[in-house]
């Protein structure tokens, strides 16, 4: 997220006396479903007994996997859109809940929701 976006959101929240909730999505990359066919060796210390030569068919992202970041973002984006929450044009790290927000931002019940990463 751009720093300007964060400032804007904090400012809006302050003006409207909205609550700000901060949260972290744990093991975010493990939520993204891979589209590519990727195989991995078995994790050190956890090789399945009697299956030494087997490999892992990787279905979700792992940290440092090149495509994990994109995969995770696609997952998040799809989930958000299914809830009617869309990425802002000027900063895709900002998601706006269209059912809450009104066209006129000056209206009292305008709210916005963000997710970063």
């Amino acid at each position: 997220m751009r720093l300007e976006s964060l400032r804007t959101i904090l400012t809006l929240a302050a003006i409207r006396a909205l609550d700000i909730i901060q949260f972290d999505i744990t093991s975010a990359y493990l939520h993204g479903t891979l589209k590519e066919e990727v195989y991995m060796e078995q994790p050190e210390g956890y090789v399945a007994p009697g299956k030494k030569n087997w490999v892992g068919h990787l279905k979700k992202g792992l940290y440092r996997l090149v495509q994990a970041r994109r995969t995770w973002n696609e997952e998040l984006n799809a989930r958000m859109e299914s809830e009617g929450i869309t990425a802002a044009a000027k900063d895709p790290a900002i998601y706006v809940n269209n059912s809450w927000a009104s066209d006129d931002f000056a209206q009292q019940d305008a709210r916005s929701m963000t997710a970063s990463r």
């Binding site: 093991s27 493990l30 939520h31 590519e36 990727v38 195989y39 991995m40 060796e41 078995q42 994790p43 050190e44 210390g45 956890y46 399945a48 299956k51 030569n53 087997w54 490999v55 892992g56 068919h57 990787l58 279905k59 979700k60 792992l62 940290y63 440092r64 996997l65 090149v66 994990a68």
Partner: protein, 183 residues
């Protein structure tokens, strides 16, 4: 105008001087503080202890401050036990303030050789369970010409407000060894 200009100039000069004077005072105060710090020895609630046990450290990948000095260069700040929680010397015990710490192990082998083998084992078991619950991978038998990603375990001691919280581990892909279009 002519009459006022010099006055203003003098005022500016005066304020400049006073600002500089203020700075000098601040500096003096800082110097004094520094002296006080080094003068306190026996009565000081905090003292430096050297010769903290040390095991290999090199990587700075996780961005943590590490002890890169030679053997026995580790320094640890010990606070007065009456007013502060006990200090964890080694891998850290929950609820202990630890201002300096052993470096995170860089491999499974290092983790298993560290003073907190069990802690790291638990961390790995937890991560493995986490991978399983997210259905991250499925075992298949290896086929000819199959390219497999290399993995590595990353270990990390988590602190919260300077207090050791837990050991964390994470299974990462050696993404740097992926090749575009192949993996």
């Amino acid at each position: 105008m002519h009459h006022h200009a010099p006055t203003r100039a003098r005022d500016e000069q005066a304020s400049c001087t006073s600002a500089r004077a203020q700075e000098d005072i601040d500096e003096d105060e800082e110097d004094e503080d520094a002296n006080n710090g080094s003068d306190e020895d026996a009565d000081s609630p905090a003292r430096l202890i050297h010769d903290v046990p040390r095991y290999p450290s090199k990587s700075t990948r996780s961005g943590l401050i590490r002890n890169e000095g030679g053997a026995g260069n580790g320094a640890m700040l010990i606070l007065d036990e009456a007013t502060h929680p006990p200090i964890a010397f080694s891998a850290g015990l929950p609820g202990c303030i630890q201002l300096s710490k052993l470096p995170d192990p860089r491999s499974v082998r290092e983790a298993m050789a560290s003073p907190d083998t069990d802690g790291w084992k638990d961390a790995m078991d937890q991560k493995k369970a986490n991978l399983k619950s997210h259905d991250v991978y499925e075992l298949v038998s290896r086929m000819n010409g199959m390219r497999t990603l290399k993995l590595s375990w990353v270990f990390h001691q988590k602190f919260k407000n300077g207090v050791f919280e837990k050991n964390l581990s994470r299974l990462v892909a050696r993404g740097n060894r992926q090749r575009p279009g192949i993996d």
